[in-house]
């Protein structure tokens, strides 16, 4: 039995055409969970007034702790709005070759035309996303046949070729999901999501709960898939290590707000938002056993977020203005070469220093990380 070897090519970051147009644009997006129970309305502002643009061919990372609205943002960008999730304001538009498409107002026909052929989705936790009583090849056929004329034989042939191209063993086609290892299952899911060569791929925590080796295989596969058609990959994960290894650009989400957005190396080298700095600082590194702390406190409940900057209760740099005013997300002056998207930060007290300098002082009175 031959070892399963993931694609090894393309170790360098994917290159993005500097003049590429935006594939996805979100403007003033407000995606709230609104529940109505016995006359009491509860609103969870999971994504609140968020504007971003994702360019063609880039790998765009969305980072943040659990409960920051990452997955909700992804659902909104995907146009997968199911009650109680409600779009309260703003818009999301796709721009493929044939003009702009409003992602939030997709009809059934739009959806059929776009899904999987243009826009695809790689879910979190592949454990349960494959039909347990259906062989992989039949699932492939189902997914392909839903979008194009095909016979079962053609679909399977197509799946076989695709798996071969991705360096996956075609034998899995005859298996049931439960017969595969977790990593294999996740990679099959990725193949399933991308077999119709979508232009835009959303991936929601594709590596969470996988162990490191598997995680690496999955990430490499994602890279491979993205590179093949120069697709756009939007990747949500809380794991900064994954962002560092995979993305071109990273957006950091906190409590439903976009707090910082920059190309990956900037984010890791010179993050300006204290939250971003915390996120990166808190990661342990091989070869370094010096003490690191987590981010103090916990993200706020989104049904009643704090006024002003939502990070202020956890921020050592917070001042009165942070408690009263919401910091605007503004481009950082003088950074970037002018053609790419600017480095944007929403903070009144931006830290302009390389991370190594360790600018943030750990306030001794801060509550324990949680």
């Amino acid at each position: 039995m031959s070892p399963e070897t993931a694609a090894s090519a393309g170790m360098e970051q994917a290159r993005v055409n500097e003049e590429a147009r935006n594939v996805v644009e979100a403007e003033g997006l407000k995606a709230w969970y609104i529940t109505q129970a016995y006359g009491v309305e509860r609103t969870v502002k999971a994504v609140d007034d968020l504007t971003l643009a994702i360019r063609e061919g880039e790998i765009y990372g969305i980072a943040g702790e659990s409960g920051c609205g990452k997955s909700t943002l992804l659902k909104a960008l995907l146009g997968e709005i199911v009650s109680p999730l409600t779009i309260v304001g703003g818009k999301v538009e796709y721009d493929f070759d044939a003009g702009k498409i409003d992602a939030l107002k997709q009809t059934e026909e739009d959806r059929e035309a776009i899904r999987w052929r243009r826009v695809s989705y790689i879910p979190q936790g592949s454990m349960h996303v494959l039909n347990p009583v259906r062989r992989i090849r039949d699932t492939f056929h189902d997914f392909i046949a839903a979008h194009q004329e095909t016979t079962r034989e053609q679909s399977i042939e197509m799946a076989r070729n695709y798996l071969q191209e991705l360096g996956l063993r075609e034998g899995v086609l005859g298996n049931y999901p439960h017969q595969l290892s977790g990593g294999m299952r996740q990679r099959v899911t990725i193949a399933l999501a991308t077999i119709l060569t979508p232009r835009l791929i959303f991936a929601d925590e594709p590596t969470t709960a996988l162990d490191v080796v598997v995680q690496r295989g999955v990430i490499e596969l994602l890279k491979e898939v993205q590179k093949r058609e120069n697709s756009t990959l939007v990747l949500v994960t809380h794991d900064m290590g994954v962002h560092a290894n995979l993305t071109n650009r990273v957006a950091v989400l906190y409590a439903g707000n976009l707090v910082e957005e920059a190309d990956t190396s900037t984010i890791f080298r010179r993050p300006r938002h204290p939250y971003t700095r915390y996120l990166i600082e808190s990661l342990p590194r091989m070869g370094d056993r010096s003490e690191r702390v987590g981010i103090p406190g916990r993200p706020p409940a989104l049904d009643n977020p704090p006024d002003g900057c939502r990070f202020h209760p956890r921020c050592p740099l917070a001042t009165d203005i942070c408690r009263q005013e919401v910091p605007p997300l503004l481009p950082v002056e003088g950074i970037g070469n002018g053609t790419g998207p600017p480095h944007r930060v929403a903070c009144f007290h931006q830290v302009d220093a390389p991370l190594e300098a360790g600018e943030i002082e750990h306030a001794a009175e801060m509550p324990h990380a949680d």
Binding site: L78, E80, R111, E112, R115, W116, S120, Y121, P123, G125, M127, H128, V129, L130, N131, P132, V133, R134, D138, D142, F143, A145, A146, H147, Y176, H178, Q179, A193
Partner: protein, 330 residues
């Protein structure tokens, strides 16, 4: 070897135990009954005659021999097993000297046909409609579900009786009892058979279907919220495919298990329904036999149903791994 040892043998053993336990119970219960078939037969035979005690005694002994009631209960038990393994269920008490084998042989095809048809149809329709209801929630499906929930607890015979009144009296469309003309598999026989079987079948179908529906709807609703269905929905799979291969296919697994387990109660329902409609199956025969204290017939039928149901369960059990690729035995 492993297959045989680890999987088939334990189940066969279980099957044997089921049958032994079941048959022992059914052997014992009628013998605890106060109704003595010898007394009954004696009563019938001596009803119009003046007999001397010796003649009565002689008659009684002869009946005991005929009925296999000689000796202690233990001896009877072993003789019973001996006969049973020889494929002989003995003579009927009520219809002496008829063999129980013949009586059951006559009734069995009717019950098997009725039972098989209604069970399979109820199963299929119940799952299809139940899955549809889970898939398309709304006012209409709530109404259907409401009706099903109301129908489900209604005892078989009430539904049977309502149908009987409605379609043999108010609208005299169906025969009052099972009426079968012609030789089996002739056109006339099939026509009259279907005509006579329609009402009992519908009765059994409705009750069977209602439970399948409720179960399929509940399972389907749960299945719909499962990750794999949601993902497939998101991927834009057509509704029909989702419903069949994704929702229904998965809900069928617990339904298969339940079907195996509910064969007993389905049989009970058939018993009552047959009695109401004068349908000449095992149920009607059994009920008559119980009323006449015809041990051997009661035992023959109960025994057959135990073997049948145990075997049905065994088949379901053995085939389950084929149906569900996930199943693991540990």
């Amino acid at each position: 070897m492993t297959l045989l040892q680890q999987f088939i043998l334990p189940r066969l053993l279980q099957w044997v135990i089921v049958i032994v336990v079941g048959i022992t119970i059914t052997f014992l219960i009628p013998r605890l009954s106060p109704v003595n078939p010898i007394q009954q037969a004696l009563g019938r035979l001596t009803q119009f005659a003046t007999l001397e005690p010796e003649a009565v005694l002689q008659l009684r002994e002869q009946l005991m021999a005929n009925y296999g009631l000689e000796g202690s209960i233990v001896e009877q038990y072993f003789r019973f097993w001996g006969n049973l393994l020889g494929g002989d269920l003995g003579p009927s008490f009520g219809a002496f000297p008829q063999r129980v084998n013949d009586m059951i042989g006559r009734a069995l095809p009717y019950t098997v046909a009725l039972l098989t048809f209604t069970t399979i149809m109820g199963w299929i329709i119940g799952i299809i409609v139940g899955t549809l209801a889970a898939y398309y929630p709304g006012r209409l499906t709530n109404l259907v579900a409401g009706v099903m929930i109301v129908v489900y607890p209604v005892p078989y015979f009430i539904i049977a009786f309502i149908f009987l009144m409605a379609f043999t009296y108010y609208i005299p469309f169906f025969p009052l009892i099972g009426v079968f003309r012609g030789e089996p598999f002739e056109a006339e026989f099939i026509a009259t058979y279907l005509h006579s079987t329609f009402l009992p079948a519908v009765t059994l179908l409705i009750t069977g279907l209602s439970f399948r529906f409720i179960m399929a709807r509940a399972l389907g609703t749960a299945e719909l919220s499962s990750d794999h269905v949601q993902y497939a929905t998101m991927a834009g799979l057509p509704d029909r495919r989702l419903m069949t291969s994704y929702v229904a296919r998965n809900t069928m697994l617990p339904q298969v298990t339940d079907l195996g387990l509910s064969m007993g109660s389905i049989f009970s329902g058939t018993l009552i329904t047959e009695a109401v409609f004068g349908y000449p199956g095992l149920g009607d025969l059994l009920l008559q036999a119980i009323y006449q204290a015809d041990y051997n017939v009661v035992m023959g039928i109960t025994l057959l149903s135990i073997v049948g149901i145990a075997t049905a369960s065994l088949i379901v059990d053995l085939s389950y791994p084929l149906v569900d690729p996930r199943v693991r035995y540990r």
